[in-house]
Amino acid sequence: MTPVVEMDGIGRTFTGPPPVEAIRTVDLTLEQGEYLSIVGPSGSGKSTLLHLLGLLDRPTGGVYRLDGIDVRTLSERRRTRLRGERIGFVFQAFHLLPRRTVLENVELAMMYLRVPRRERTARARATIDRVGLAHRCDFDPLTLSGGERQRVAVARALTSEPSLLLADEPTGNLDSENAASVLDLFDELHAEGLTLAVITHDDAVSRRAQRRVRIVDGVLA
């Protein structure tokens, strides 16, 4: 089977002044169904690596294959499409649209993937049900608890049936109880065969993963 992620000598330098070598050289392979956590201190390059993994940013060096596709040569348009289809994002700050219902928030990604309306709603409802929030479909996200909000964000990431779920400090804004509910959900998704990469500076969070790597100053240890 093709690995989901194959990174070979990936680097990312932000052109200054002064230039910052956020990622020096990273070699990383992620097999299908793996649950990886990347831990590291603040400023070590975790978010930068996640942006590279998620096709939100382009590396300044190295080779990156996502599902076997070399993404270096892709046009902006193709990259955007590939990102929408194969990557699901979960952010620390949730990034839910306020004053739109939970259902509308979850449908959002499928809109850009041109999923027909009916199917969109059906899939969104099923996914919301999957994360245990069926009774919150018509709520404004602002009225939900932090844990519920993050589960809505997970549902949104899952609707496109991505190859890889990327989470950047998914429990950073949550108390321990809410954090636990999100991490339990990750365990379940992993058990169902989803490939996950969770970035955190919290050891307790990273210990939940099947495989852990540490990043320091832009280098995996």
Partner: protein, 400 residues
């Protein structure tokens, strides 16, 4: 992403920020309202003028003798012929024509009946005039009571008169069924009718009016003073051009024809200056309105950076992001245009009611105004939309 989805997202983007919408549209609302009201009131006013003008003024032609200074210094003059109405009657477009003249009665007083010996006579300075029978139709006279004299009276020089309503009041005549008389000097004239109103020559309402033939025979009237012509609607220009030749084939230049200005030229320049000012103000507030939309949309883009980042992360391209903000600002403009058009129409109707006018509004204006608002919104949104599309997703997500 389908057009429907794009519009749906734009509507949601606008609808979830109602207070902002109100502020953003204000300039457009004022501008569009000013434009619609100005054009609407302009059309309405022009409509009122041309309505009145068409019905009355536009059908009147008056012919009077004019003077001309000859090459050797002598002044040429001409007299209007007695049979001018008959000559004019042969012209196409002439509905009715009649001659008119003031009559010099040599200082004789006009006295009404009944004359009671005890109180003496009721003496009044009442003007005396002569008119051919056709004049009454030509000036649009309507009778209060009795009838008008006819061409038989005219030819026989019968001593009959018609009284203007003010003359009748002053002479104490209010009924004609008993054939009352009025005396001019010591001559008795039978009153056959009383005139209630006229469209032109309101002097008739003050006067005692007798047939031309009677004035000629009794008072030696030399010639008519003027010919009044009522034309068919729209024929005044043409009749005015031909009438002098018809009345005086030998010397048409010695007559003056008073013709109404061609339709339109009056209404158009009535309030052109005022219109210009209001249109300029409307245009200015539209410009301000457009800048307002641009400004608030730009602010909105900056505020919604993290939303933009999220949309990019879940698969939105630059064009999707730009499209959304463009449609949002176009929508804001459209809403402003709709409200403004409604306000402008209401203003037009309101002013018309107060002025007792019939409101006239081109329906195309009511449709075009909101569209103009939408176009302004779209134009105003181009720069903010472009800015939104250049926002990098990683920068956007970091700011959330």
């Amino acid at each position: 992403m389908s057009v429907r989805d794009l519009c749906g997202e734009a509507v949601a983007g606008v609808a979830t920020r109602p207070s902002r919408l109100a502020l953003t549209t204000l300039g457009t609302v004022l501008g569009i309202a000013a434009l619609v009201a100005t054009l609407g009131l302009g059309q309405t006013a022009a409509g009122q003028i041309s309505e009145r003008f068409d019905a009355v003024a536009a059908t009147r032609v008056v012919i009077e003798p004019a003077e001309r200074e000859g090459p050797d210094g002598q002044v040429d003059a001409t007299e209007l012929p007695w049979d001018a109405p008959e000559r004019l009657g042969r012209l196409a477009g002439v509905d009715s024509a009649g001659t008119y003249a003031a009559v010099d009665v040599g200082g004789a007083s006009v006295v009404g009946l009944p004359v009671t010996a005890a109180t003496g006579t009721l003496e009044n300075v009442v003007p005396v005039a002569a008119a051919s029978p056709g004049l009454f139709a030509a000036v649009g006279a309507s009778l209060r009571t009795g009838r008008l004299y006819d061409s038989g009276h005219d030819e026989r020089a019968d001593r009959v008169v018609v009284l203007g309503k003010y003359a009748a009041e002053r002479l104490g005549v209010n009924r004609v069924d008993s054939q009352p008389s009025v005396f001019i000097g010591n001559r008795a004239f039978t009153v056959v009718g009383i005139i209630d109103s006229v469209d032109h020559r309101s002097g008739i309402l003050d006067a005692v009016v007798m047939p031309m033939g009677t004035a000629r025979e009794t008072y030696g009237l030399e010639a008519p003073e003027a010919v009044e012509i009522r034309t068919a609607l729209g024929a005044a220009q043409q009749v005015g051009g031909q009438a002098r030749l018809a009345v005086s084939p030998n010397d048409p230049d010695l007559l003056a024809a008073d013709v109404p200005p061609p339709p339109g030229s009056l209404g158009d320049n009535v309030s052109a200056d005022v219109n210009g000012l209001f249109l300029a103000l409307g245009g200015l507030s539209l410009l301000v309105g457009g800048l307002g939309i641009a400004n608030v949309t730009l602010l909105s883009v900056m505020e919604r950076v993290s939303e933009i980042g999220l949309r990019r992360a879940v698969g939105a391209g630059r064009t999707h992001v730009a499209g959304q903000f463009l449609v949002e600002s176009g929508l804001v403009g459209l809403i402003g245009g709709l409200i403004g058009a409604a306000a402008g129409v209401l203003t037009t109707v309101g002013v018309s009611v107060v002025r007792d006018w019939t409101p006239l509004l081109d329906t195309r204006l009511a449709v075009a105004a909101p569209l103009l608002g939408a176009v302004i919104g779209l134009v105003a949104g181009t720069y903010p939309a472009w800015r939104a599309s250049t926002i990098e997703p990683i920068a956007a997500l970091r700011s959330g």
